[in-house]
Amino acid sequence: MGEAAHRYDETMPLEYRTQESRLNILGFWIFLGAEVALFATLFATYLVLFQRTGSGPTAGELFEVKDVLIETLLLLTSSFTCGLAIFEMRRGRMSGLIAWLLVTLLLGAGFITFELREFIHYVHEGATMQTSAFLSSFFVLVGTHGAHVSLGIAWMILIIIQLLQRGLTAKTARKVFIVSLYWHFLDVVWIFIFTLVYLLGMVI
């Protein structure tokens, strides 16, 4: 740490102004690198196992196109509104920031609702996590993403509370920025899930 920790740089955007914030943001980027490795492993596992269906249903027999399309639309839109929140933050507009964060959060919650509906539907058809290697890897991969989104929603609520309590400071701005990085990352992962799980599953 040292005096460097509190070197304040006026020329940077609010979230980058203290040395501590710069360290945190870089650390979070590196954490996202580790997350890439984590999801890559889950994708590799899924691709190895997705045709090993045992006595259970195959991907083509199972997937619900309509729910998946709604989920995709909700999550991609939420990434856009999250970007708008950061845009408002850079303009120093607290009300716009919070409003867009709330929209993002609601879209995320909508995504989770439809995903749960989809999962419950599969389970009712007798396709559970224990049925086959394909379904184990499907539920764990998509479920890990869903757990990440749920965590992101809870995290965003905590940050909105802090924004209301403390206003827009170098510290709260950094927190908003980091949660937005996380949110966009989950969007990227979903694009891969949509392609490699759902599209591939319906083609093959």
Binding site: H6, L26, I30, L38, L49, G54, G56, T131, A133
Partner: protein
């Protein structure tokens, strides 16, 4: 569940261990209470975020785990000394080789290396702490409680018994019914999360917090190896996280990833395990190379030969370490094309490693060598490690590997690289940096006794194993019949193991002896060192450097000594120093991880959820925390500097 299933019963050795554990716990509580040390323990250690204290705690745990793993090893050697021994039964033997391997790699080698890097790296780069001190404390406590969870398995519930690689289907529910392998999955997961956070923490620290003038190509070699090791950790440990999570799902929730029916694929586990596992062996060996580089350069009193080639070869080794994993199971039957590709990448690692060996030799050449204990370990490393490396190239030949696979030849090979590489490095680093940690030097005479006993014992123990392997003895067999001709070499190996054990006892005595009678280091620079850690007092004041040093070249402190006669601090240059506050949260959050993990092991889901809720509570409290640390005023710095430097 019945009590007789909860506690491990039926073995006199286990009952003795139960008694020893209870007595030790009573002893610790009594001593802390009698000497009124509870508050000291909490304020100075359990809540600390100081990288040096965290490093010391890592090393204490590593030495304890070396003892535990060493006892496991001696039990195995006792069982194998003569044919048809009945000292351990097959199940007990399975558990012991599993815990030996897991503990030695993950709870001995890793924390020893991470402990040294905690103490040394911030000092070497002229920083006051790591980038995220709170996270660093959390990393340590997660490691600690992960290790604790793993270690209680042998008295509560039963130890894992499918080998440290935990291959499926053996490690699955079909063949391992007890909770043993649940312990493996959950305990490694908890400590692995800690390791991942350490990797991120030190990568940011090294990239962003170096003293002015210290460009990447002026960094000390140990710091370079840690930088690359962090990259390995960040990309390898998530694979372990996933593999262990899938194992937990299979064992606890009945999924079908690695099972034998419903499409499961047991070799997927082996692949995932080794995609992490091979980089993992470089995670423990690259920092060891860094330690040897520092020690060799200091005690040959020369700048490290071929600095740029050293950096290049570390990067090369790190890259190759990710594309060799299949060599751990050439016999899986992937076919000649796949095996050949992995055979070539494996042999290619010998090239950058060879470059490094020659660079150490050229550093020694024409140096004024001082044969300190640290230097003896480093000099012994070179020939011993080369034996391990050359037999590694033999194993890398896929066709020949069908003969060597899972034999004692392999056992001998990886002990030659891991002991002669990592364990020698840990001992070298311990002796070298001991004065920096504690302010006194480990006794050199006793240190040399440890060195000769352990080094000779190591060769006596493991060299015969190459021949036992070629004679057909396979790993993990708990006994063998008379008349195979293996007995004499097994007796020799056991004698060697006992010598290593004696060497370890001498080391422990040395720690006690030196604390009482050892030479105090008043200068801060007992070895005529070259890098910035020797510019601080021994032990350093908790803010490390009163003013940030300025670096002009490689071997920054050596240059300072030559040009200015040392690192001088003018009192008028002092400014208030900002430091992070202590926190008890990393400790209790890790306790919550332990509780949640214990619940998961026994499928007591209410307990697991209760633990998880406390983890979430800890995260929320951290998010709302508004503590930006504190400043040490200049007068206080002056007072502490004078106190630290008295007698210098």
């Amino acid at each position: 569940m019945k009590w007789s299933e909860f506690f491990v019963t039926g073995e006199p050795l286990i009952y003795a261990a139960d008694v020893a554990i209870v007595l030790t716990m009573i002893g610790i509580v009594f001593v802390l209470t009698y000497f009124k040390k509870w508050k000291w323990l909490w304020d100075e250690w359990l809540t600390t975020v100081d990288h040096k204290k965290i490093g010391v705690m890592y090393i204490i745990c590593a030495v304890l785990m070396l003892f535990r793993g060493g006892v496991d090893a001696l039990l195995m050697r006792a069982q194998l000394t003569a044919p048809n021994m009945k000292f351990l039964d097959a199940q007990h033997y399975n558990e012991i080789f599993t815990t030996h391997g897991t503990i030695m790699i993950l709870f001995m080698a890793m924390p020893f290396i991470i402990g040294l890097m905690n103490i040394v790296v911030p000092l070497q780069i002229g920083a006051r702490d790591v980038a995220f001190p709170y996270l660093n404390a959390l990393s340590f406590w997660l490691f600690f409680f992960g290790a604790l969870l793993f270690n209680i398995s042998f008295v509560i519930g039963g130890s894992p018994d499918a080998g440290w690689t935990a291959y499926f289907p053996l490690a699955g529910n079909e063949f391992s019914h007890g909770v043993g392998n649940n312990y493996y999955a959950v305990a490694l997961q908890i400590s692995g999360i800690g390791t991942l956070m350490t990797g991120i923490n030190f990568l940011v620290t090294i990239l962003k917090m170096r003293a002015p003038g210290m460009t990447l190509m002026r960094m000390p070699m140990f710091t370079w190896t840690i930088l690359i090791t962090c990259v390995l950790i960040i990309f390898a440990f998530p694979v372990l996280t996933v593999a262990l999570a899938l194992m937990t799902f299979d064992r606890v929730f009945g999924t079908q990833f690695f099972t034998m029916a419903n499409g499961g694929m047991s070799m997927l586990w082996a692949n995932l395990f080794w995609i992490w596992g091979h980089p993992e062996v470089y995670i423990v060996i690259l920092p060891s190379f860094g330690i040897f580089s520092e020690v060799v350069s200091t005690f040959a009193q020369k700048r490290l030969f071929g600095y740029k080639a050293m950096v290049g070869s570390i990067v090369g080794i790190a890259f190759l370490s990710f594309i060799v994993w299949v060599h751990h199971f050439f016999t899986m039957g992937a076919g000649p094309a796949v095996n050949s590709a992995f055979s070539i990448t494996t042999m290619a690692i010998a090239i950058p490693t060879g470059v490094k060996v020659f660079n150490w030799l050229f550093t020694i050449r024409k140096g004024k060598i001082r044969f300190t204990t640290a230097m003896l370990w480093s000099l012994a490393f070179i020939p011993n490690f080369v034996i391990g490396g050359v037999t590694g190239v033999m194993l890398a030949m896929a066709a020949a590997d069908y003969q060597y696979h899972n034999s004692y030849f392999l056992i001998a090979h990886f002990h030659y690289v891991l002991i002669a590489g990592t364990v020698f490095a840990c001992f070298a680093g311990l002796h070298y940096w001991y004065p920096k940690m504690f302010g006194h030097i480990l006794n050199e005479r006793l240190g040399k006794w440890t060195f000769w006993l352990f080094m000779i014992g190591f060769n006596v123990c493991f060299f015969p194993m190459y021949f036992l392997g070629l004679m057909g003895m396979t790993r993990r067999m708990y006994t063998y019949s008379d008349g195979l001709g293996w007995t004499p070499l097994n007796v020799v190996a056991t004698v060697g193991a006992v010598l290593m054990g004696i060497g370890f006892i001498v080391l422990c005595y040395n720690i006690y002896y030196s604390a009482r009678y050892g030479e105090r280091d008043m200068t801060g620079d007992p070895w005529n060192g070259r890098t910035l850690e020797w510019a601080t007092a021994s032990p350093p004041v908790h803010y490390n450097f009163p003013v940030t040093p300025v670096v002009e070249d490689i071997d920054a402190y050596w240059v300072m000594k030559k040009k200015y006669g040392g690192f001088h601090v003018k009192e008028e240059d002092l400014k208030p120093i900002h430091m992070p506050s202590n926190s008890g949260r990393p400790f209790w959050m890790s306790v919550a991880f332990f509780v949640a993990g214990f619940g998961l092991v026994f499928k007591w889901f209410a307990l697991a959820i209760a633990g998880a809720l406390f983890i979430v509570l800890g995260l929320i409290l951290r998010s709302f925390e508004d503590d930006d640390g504190y400043y040490i005023p200049v007068d206080e710095i002056k007072r502490m500097e004078r106190a630290a430097r008295k007698g210098a």
